[in-house]
Amino acid sequence: MKKTIITLVVIGAIITGIILMLSDSGDSSYEVPVLNETDDEVAFVRRYVPSVTVTNVSYADSLQEVGRALISGDTLTTGNSGYAMVLFLDESIARVSPTSQMVIRSELNPEKNLNLRTHVGMLLGGMFLDVESNPNREFEITTTRAVASVKGTRFGVTADDKIWVEEGEVEVTIRETGEVRSLVDKMYLQVEADGTIDSGELTDQELAELVDEYEILESDLIERQMKIQFRNRSGDPVEEQIRVFEQSDSSNE
């Protein structure tokens, strides 16, 4: 009888432990914010290099022109060579690198002209943000293992949990532990798969390389159709067609 009671206690303890472990894993200290979402436009795709698609429950659109409006809950995906510059109503800018995917959610002010609370769920790839400083507004990006909360800064985030800051300040919460770290100019933080944290300061060159990746989105783009013609051994023409997206001001250089 005693043995049975001990066995039941052990089993109960194990089950409890498992439940606790399960309930403790991931975002034990982070709760996905509950936003007052509507079907209003929360951002626009200001510039892009194909392919960029916007999906939601009822649509999956490949972008054909700039100015595409995004509503809360849209998933934006860039292809292998795709870039997108998303301009929020509060003039925050997200520059999205190729092979990225994110879910954009945002709650607007009553006048529907400012993002009060924005939450970007980074699923793949990376982006470089320029968030306007405003204590009354909230801008949050979640990756698998981290949450970056910003009040105003230029910083970058990757889905594999790297956050780096060009200037300003970002508050990073480690989802697994609830630990909060503050990153300022040139600092970076990388949450590894095993939960360890690598952080430090970027060199000017490393920082420039990270920022330069998004340079293409810094001015309006012109699409050019190019045909590169080759000749094969028989002298017959072989044509390769490519689309080129070029900064409009670079063509005048």
Partner: protein
Amino acid sequence: MRRFYYSKLRNFLQNCFAKMVNNILNSILVMLVFSVAAVAQSSDMELDIKMDSDFSQEDLSEMFSAVIEQNDLTQFFQITAENRSSGILRNNFVILEVHSEAFGTVLTAEQSSSGVFSLNPGGQITFSNLSITEISNLEIRGEPEFDLMITSDGRKLIQNLRRGYLIADDLFTLNVRIEQDIMDNRDTLTQESISFETALSESELVIETDREIVAELMGLNVSNEAPEFSWTGEQNRPYRLVIVDTDRAQNVDALFSERFAGEHSENDIRDEQAGVVLDVIASEPNYQIPDRFAGLFEGGKTYAWQVQSSKQTVQDNFVQAYSDRLEFTTSFPIEGEIRELLVNIFGEERTNEFIENGLMLDQIQVDGETYSKEEVLRILREMAGKIENNQLKVVS
């Protein structure tokens, strides 16, 4: 009484005789009048000359041969003489003369005295290239042979024609006379002529080029191909081939004109500074760039070439025949800088595929505008710079 009767009889007989003499004289007079009418009236003999409807100046040489050899294998012209009088036209013979405005009288052909012919009223004789092809109501003495006389100028013309020299502008006239020989007295019964013009054929001044062969030069791989230039023409004729670097030549047209205007010199077959890549004489309608000129062409450049040949006319003048001025651009082998530039656009793997498939870069078109080879390199370099600075993205 007897005297009266005698005298009456004498008067009667005298009257009868006088009448008879008068009648005879009248008859003789009438006969003489008729006789004169039956002799040597040009309107009595109708002469007609017809050139064959297919005759062209290209047949000139053959026509002379046909006249000289008096054959009628191919009919070039036809002479028909018809007696339209009611009397017999005797001892007629034909004289033919070919006259050139440029050469003068070329040849004469006169029917020999052993073969004169007579035509009965309505009689007709037809000659083709001086051989009789049709006769009716005709009486001919001996064989209708012709004594030919070719003038020295005519001999020159005929020889030049046989050499294949070009027929130049000229006016040829075929004069035909029918004469009558009465007691060694020659009278022209009738004469007729027919003329035809010849002109220098414009097509002779053009050296044709085969489109396919010209196309083969496009995209020439300068690394491993020694190009062959060819055109349509005769073997064993000298052709002058001039190849010009269009990028280097200040004025391509002027350079070609200057080259062709001057005598060819083996000591001056290249002039890099002026843009003359090669100026050579070919004895056949093609020219294979020899090994000693390896490296003559550079990748990504445009070259123009033209062929000239001097042709002699039958009048011993020289005219120049030219091919069109043709261009070709050489391709870039995908190696070195070109390879690196393409890697920027297509990536390493795809660029290697191009190389494995033996492709060479030929030209680039941006927004519908095609750029020359020189510009291709500039565009690729610009693109590479922009890609490096993240100012340009390629979307495959």
